[in-house]
Amino acid sequence: MQENQTIEAIVCKGCGGEPRLSAQCKLCGGAGIGVAGTDGFLVWEERVDEFMIALRKARRQINAFFHLGLLAVVLVFLVLFAWQANRLEDLGELQTLAFWVSGYWYVTLFWFACFFGTFLVFRLSEYSVESKALPNWGKTHRQLEHEEKIAEKKAGFRFDVAPYFSVTARDVVESAYNLAKKLQRTEVTPQTLFAAALASPSGGVFMVRLGMQFDKVKEPITNVLLADDAGNPPVHLSRDAKKVLALAYADARANQRRHVEVMEIFLQAFKNSPKIQDVLDQLGFPPEHVVHVGEWIRLRSKLKEDHDRFQALAALKPKSTMNRAMTAQQTSLLDRFSEDLTLMARNGYIAPAVGRQKELAEMLRGIESGRRSLVLVGEPGSGKTALVEELARMMVEENVPPELFDRRLVSVNIAQVVAAGDPGMAAERFLSLMHEVGVSGNIVLVMNNIESLTGAGLGGPMDLAEMLASELDKGYLLAICTTTPQAWTRYIERRSLANKLIKINIPETDYEDTIKVLMARSGLIEYDNKVFFSYAALDKAAALSERFVHEKASPERALDIIREAAVLARKSRGKKTFVTADDVAKVVHEKTNIPVESMTTSEASKLMNLEQKLHERVIGQEEAVQAVSRALKRSRAELREGKRPIANFLFLGPTGVGKTELTKALAAEYFGSEEAMVRLDMSEYQDKASVYRVIGAPGDDRGGLLTEAVRNKPYTIVLLDELEKAHPDILTLFLQVMDDGRLTDGVGRTVDFTNVMLIATSNAGTPFIQAEVTKNTPLEQIKRGLLENELKGIFRPEFLNRFDGVIVFRPLTMDDVTQIAWLMINGITRRLAEKGMNFRAEDSAVEELAKEGFDPLYGARPLRRVIQEKVDTALADLMLQGKVGRKDTLILEPGGNIRVEKAPEL
């Protein structure tokens, strides 16, 4: 946020920058303070006071009045002349010199009209243009480089920035002055400038995009302004305000703007006013958001300016495949298998790329280095195509190194070239294409996904990579290839083709750059869908896509999301609505199944009651239920660390006490259904080779059982049953999952585990638990005993240490088993109700079942068997014998007897 404050302002030695003194200071000519810039020492020299404001206003009005009057006189004179000339009997007179100098009154008026006309031209060109274009506006890279070189020479000279401010920007400076005066402040400060910019039309657009309401911020901002020094006029521009104006100029120049606009003042005033930053932050507008929205509005108008310039230059580029030197040849075969990117750019079909200056410079350097051909290596969606397209735009402007001058950029569709099926034919076709490129001589080839040249997608003998390498070796061809990091490592890196190419890594964009791309590209999406994006929507798309969407790289995945969100907003609320953060969240939720919307009240109450709900299914085990529900609350309130799974739990305890049941209950209650979990029975992963089943064998695109499941369903529970049975190597894999929340599969894809709840169950140490429970040892002590002694030989300490909670499930008591028996009986009641029968059990009968099914060693499992044998079997018999019909009531009595109460006859 403080970036511009690092640019040191230099204060005049004569007046110390003090506004009142500097007005008369001869040393600085009234500037007082300035910053060093490429055009010299940047200062704001113009006086801003009532007189100057009134003068500017009066001048504008009088000029308009005067010019209109003058124009009217000229027109009246000309009309009179035309009217009189038309009445001449002999129009041939007009051709004689005598006619023009004889002193006819209307001819005299004609000459005066012409003379006044020239005066009007003079007035219009000298008195109506109010701001100058910035010195670097519309210049090419080369011209700019030259300017940088001579910057030192200019450094010693004062450079007044005021004439470069647009009319609206000047209006803002003046309204800041009026505001300070109205509030009886002695100085115009950065705060005043900010407030004035906010109240301007551009400020209005800003507030709409940010979702800010003027009424709500007006008072807090006024209070900030009132904290400045009070006093009587004259009002001066403070040192900081002058610095802000000079910085606004530097900012506009750095962004190659035509004039200094309101948004530059706005941004610089904001960046240099900690008080305003604090106030807006408190109101819910963090400084980054404010700056981003300011930059967004600026980017919009800059894109418009760039577009106008681009069109003028594009007119020079040939419309056909022929180059301007006319050395090229017809390339009929190539045209069939390719598209001409420069032609597309020339005709306006390619949008400009934003950012990526470093990679672009690297590309141009690579081309100029003489080794020529390049390969852009980046994940799908990271913007390789956008970079190539930007190069096409630069080639249209001819703002490129000589190697690319007067050439066209042609993208070959490799898939079509190799689609012949017959390797021989594909090779022949490929060589013919190369031949055309060679003889034509004006073509720069773009080959996307060059791994398809190696037969990567086909697995056959279709290998044209060596052929391309040898063609590149001949040096007649300049190619720009793209590929993914995986394909590069797997198919290309160790081949001779790799040596012929300069590798340029195209990393994913980070959050900041993604936001910029979204800002630049949102315009077209808005236009297509007739909706508007709020800043919050773009911010959410950038943040959520980075966290939750992993199929593509940024910025493409974020763009996909805002595209869908725009359609969603249009369909649900109609045209001309705003796309909000919630729309974006909804799209992400639908794509990933992860609840990312702001929490609704029903969801919050569901979370608050989660413990109670879980207890309806899991009897006893308070500690376990509490731990999992707390972890979920933390996760949903976004209070957990972002880079780990939602929670890692180890459930320890004897068999049949509810470890798996709790996990199922959780899946059903919170993740939607009992099936919303990835369950791995670790007894199936006892040998070393089973690691490949978990993460996939190297090079196998199908991936592993676990990694694929989580990749497809990132918001889920991963249940590792009977963990102690797994091979130690598999446990090592999970070390990384628990620590970093990610796992790399056999193909090298990183799978995100940060939205997973990892639950491992184990009945290691059961005899110890049972023995200690019998001795009535507190659970906490049992747990310590387990960790310190019992589990030591089974799990490594660093593994146990990574669990957020090791939860000991205590053996079930008789009471627990009775409750479970009731749960099971209720289950039977539900099932019979579906068949139209009523069922109930007498208390003593259930107690009898519980007693019979109680086994401290095996938990609730024997109970299930008892109920199956005693109740389910008896019921089945009754049904098969036809002794029970719909609407009958079945009553379970002690001794396993089931009595049938027939429904009354109809």
């Binding site: 009532e50 003068l55 002193g103 009154w105 005299t108 000459w111 003379f115 020239t118 003079f122 000298e126």
Partner: protein
């Protein structure tokens, strides 16, 4: 508290300033026309000519003078190409010269215009006929 803007203290200097501004512009007009304005016209003409020069691609054509057109590398192709390039360059050269002349004419017209218009206007004014007609028109 209320702060009254002292309008009168500003009106006078403002009026003076604007009067000077307006009258000054009449004095500044001829000077501007033959210095700043003329230079601006000349620069515009030169830029337009440069743009035409670029559009004709002279530099590209001269650099590729011996490079055969349409990739015809055989002797015949080369010969025809050199001839064609020569002819086209001459043709475009002539076109550029004509365009240059037209543009220079524009600059000359700019330079001549106000003086010429004024001279004609004053000549007409000084003729007795004008006064007579005006008297007649005014009745």
């Amino acid at each position: 508290m209320c702060y009254n803007i002292d309008v009168n203290s500003h009106l006078k200097p403002l009026g003076k300033y604007l009067l000077i501004d307006l009258l000054g512009s009449i004095a500044w007009f001829p000077v501007w026309w033959y210095t700043v304005g003329l230079k601006r016209q000349a620069v515009k003409a030169v830029r337009a000519l440069e743009y035409r020069y670029q559009a004709y691609g002279f530099r590209i054509w001269i650099r590729n003078f011996f490079v055969p057109m349409y990739g015809q590398y055989d002797f015949g192709g080369r010969a025809i190409s050199i001839l064609m390039r020569f002819v086209v360059l001459i043709g475009r050269g002539i076109a550029l010269v004509v365009e240059g002349l037209v543009l220079s004419l524009g600059v000359a017209v700019w330079a001549a215009a106000p003086t010429l218009f004024l001279v004609f206007a004053l000549t007409n004014l000084s003729k007795g006929l004008f006064m007579e007609q005006v008297k007649f028109l005014l009745g």
